[in-house]
């Protein structure tokens, strides 16, 4: 017969944080790997778009002119991928988990809230970094791009900081989304303007001056610029101060808003009855 005995009181020593966190990161990576939208918009589509783009500039080879064309394209497509994973997928899966009661169950489990979020954001950042690595590998294969280890480190630093900023903003935005059905349109309204205004798909010089200035303070353009600089080997390991400051500010702001306003419970219509 199955033993369903209770543990002796006092014998309870809960598993250590490291073990719990490792299990949670693995869980979040499994969820991402089994999320077709994350795979398509975060990995497949950016790589495909880059491959098509490289077809047009391949004749320039690994020349300075070629790199000048290639670098902003790779930077823009990295932004496209990172925002798809760390903003769109991260926020929409959080909303679905909340509305399905998954977050409520985690909250009732002996799992610290911070551990859940640390794991989810860690998995998101790892996936965004992987998207960046895939884009660079495609560029290396098709455009004979070569990168130093310092450039790779710089790329990962920028990618990580950008993904962290997007994930923090995405977490905060979930407060404004009341149902799983409304997640997609609300996030599209955030994600698409952010990507297009960053110059990810072409120059934005034709925009009004005030708008081009404003977008430098959004979390998208600093990612494109920093990645481009890395690929053009014109920067150090860290992103430029302005870009780093903008991303850090979005990260801090997103985290603060999330800490204050994040909701674990599914949205419920208010009681209209009176006693």
């Amino acid at each position: 017969m199955t033993d369903l005995t209770l543990p002796a009181r006092g014998a309870l020593r809960l598993p250590g944080t490291g073990r719990v966190l490792a299990a949670q990161v693995r869980y979040q990576l499994i969820l991402l790997a089994r999320n077709p939208r994350a795979l398509v918009t975060g990995l497949v589509m950016p790589s495909l778009l880059l491959a098509l783009e490289l077809g047009h500039v391949q004749h320039l080879g690994a020349t300075t002119a070629g790199m000048a064309v290639l670098a902003p394209r790779v930077g823009g497509l990295f932004l496209f991928a990172a925002a798809a994973i760390a903003l769109f997928t991260h926020a929409s899966t959080l909303v679905v988990a909340r509305e399905d009661g998954v977050l409520r169950r985690w909250r009732a489990a002996p799992l610290p809230s911070w551990a859940y979020f640390t794991a989810k954001i860690t998995a998101t950042v790892l996936a965004a970094d992987l998207a960046g690595v895939v884009l660079v590998l495609v560029s290396m294969e098709m455009a004979r791009l070569s990168l130093t280890s310092r450039a790779v480190a710089a790329m990962l630093v920028t990618g990580t900081l950008g993904a962290l900023a997007f994930a923090a903003v995405g977490t905060a935005i979930t407060r404004l989304i009341s149902t799983a059905q409304s997640a997609q349109p609300v996030l599209m309204l955030t994600y698409l303007p952010l990507v297009f205004l960053s110059g990810a798909f072409g120059p934005i010089q034709s925009l009004p001056h005030w708008l081009t200035t404003a977008v430098t303070y959004l979390p998208a353009q600093p990612v494109v610029d920093a990645m481009s600089r890395v690929l053009l080997r014109s920067g150090g390991t860290l992103p430029p101060l302005h870009d780093a400051a903008v991303l850090a500010a979005w990260l801090a702001g997103g985290l603060l808003l999330s800490l204050r306003f994040f909701r674990w419970d599914p949205h419920r219509p208010r009681h209209s009855r009176t006693s």
């Binding site: 033993d3 209770l6 299990a23 399905d100 009661g101 998954v102 409520r104 002996p110 006693s275």
Partner: protein, 319 residues
């Protein structure tokens, strides 16, 4: 007065003068009860009676407007990780990641506890061995409820909250869950159950607390609750062309269903009237039943709105 004497200050679940209001609507209104350790207490009541609100306050999801609740001696709103490791819960609706397999979900939750049950044990007691590698999204509603239960008990909880756990389960799965709950209580787990199935309460609970409009209307044993249903009942479905019944019986006829239900203080006399009528008019009495009131009769008489039953308002038994 409560029928329970073995409940003390160290009762695993203790609720005192609990009130929960949502704006002008009072969902729970002065509820008090304590649960005996190692037994099943069933919270019964119609939809909107306050069962889920009460259980959610006990689980720590909601704050009471006023009153005191303690689970394992702790205010659930302040319950930390160690306290949460001592309780298990099956929420009213399934709350699992559809992309995980059954085994992945169980092993993930198992990492949170000091001495979790093995995956094999859980698959065995929930009857999910065949589906161990199936993704939760591909399971039926009843199978998902069983995964819910498996997760709830994987940490060997001292207190288990079951919020309508058998909704959507087939009869075999219900029986299996009942058997699991029986094993758990035999080993000392205290269970608080909400259910709409009175046979479930009858089978599992040593005690039932009936809520209606946010208040306790009965706090007793299932047998005593059944006795509250009143006098024995004579039931008989009339044939379609049956002649007119005697006046005493005709008032108890549901003409839509053509069903006679006679609450009878004197069964012999009422049966005599019915048998005489049937003999004289050559009516076949096959299907005639005489029985004590069912738990359902008792429950309905307690929870029916006051205006439909002549203004019953008194609390029948209370802590």
């Amino acid at each position: 007065m409560s029928a329970f004497t073995a409940i003390g200050a160290d009762s695993p679940i203790s609720v005192s003068s609990l009130v929960k209001r949502y704006g002008g609507y009072t969902a729970v209104d002065g509820v008090c009860f304590q649960t005996p350790a190692g037994q099943v207490t069933a919270l019964l009541g119609p939809n909107g009676a306050g069962k889920t609100t009460t259980i959610e306050i006990l689980e720590g999801f909601q704050s009471p407007t006023s009153g005191t609740v303690r689970v394992l001696g702790v205010n659930p709103r302040n319950g930390g990780r160690r306290w949460r490791a001592r309780i298990g819960l099956v929420l009213q609706s399934t709350s699992l990641d559809a992309q995980l397999t059954v085994t992945e979900a169980l092993s993930l939750y198992g990492t949170l506890y000091a001495r979790p049950r093995t995956i094999g044990e859980i698959l065995d007691v929930t009857g999910l061995k065949q589906d161990a590698r199936t993704r939760i999204g591909a399971l039926s509603g009843g199978q998902r409820r069983r995964v819910d239960l498996g997760i709830a008990i994987i940490g060997r909880p001292e207190v288990l909250f079951l919020d309508e756990p058998t909704t959507g389960l087939d009869p075999e799965a219900r029986r299996r869950l009942w058997s699991v709950v029986g094993s758990l209580t035999a080993q000392g787990t205290t269970v608080l159950l909400t259910t709409h199935y009175l046979d479930e309460a009858q089978h599992l609970a040593s005690r039932v607390v009936v809520l209606a409009d946010g208040r306790i209307v009965a706090d007793t044993t299932p047998d005593e609750l059944r006795a509250m249903g009143g006098v024995p009942v004579i039931r008989y479905r009339l044939p379609p062309d049956a002649p007119e019944l005697p006046a005493r019986l005709a008032s108890c006829l549901d003409r839509e269903k053509n069903e006679l239900t006679v609450p009878s203080a004197d069964v012999t006399a009422d049966l005599g009237t019915l048998v005489t009528w049937a003999r004289e008019r050559h009516v076949d009495l096959t299907g005639l039943e005489v029985g004590s009131p069912s738990l359902e009769d008792a429950y309905l008489s307690l929870t029916r709105p006051a205006e439909t039953q002549g203004g019953r308002e008194e609390v029948l038994s209370h802590d």
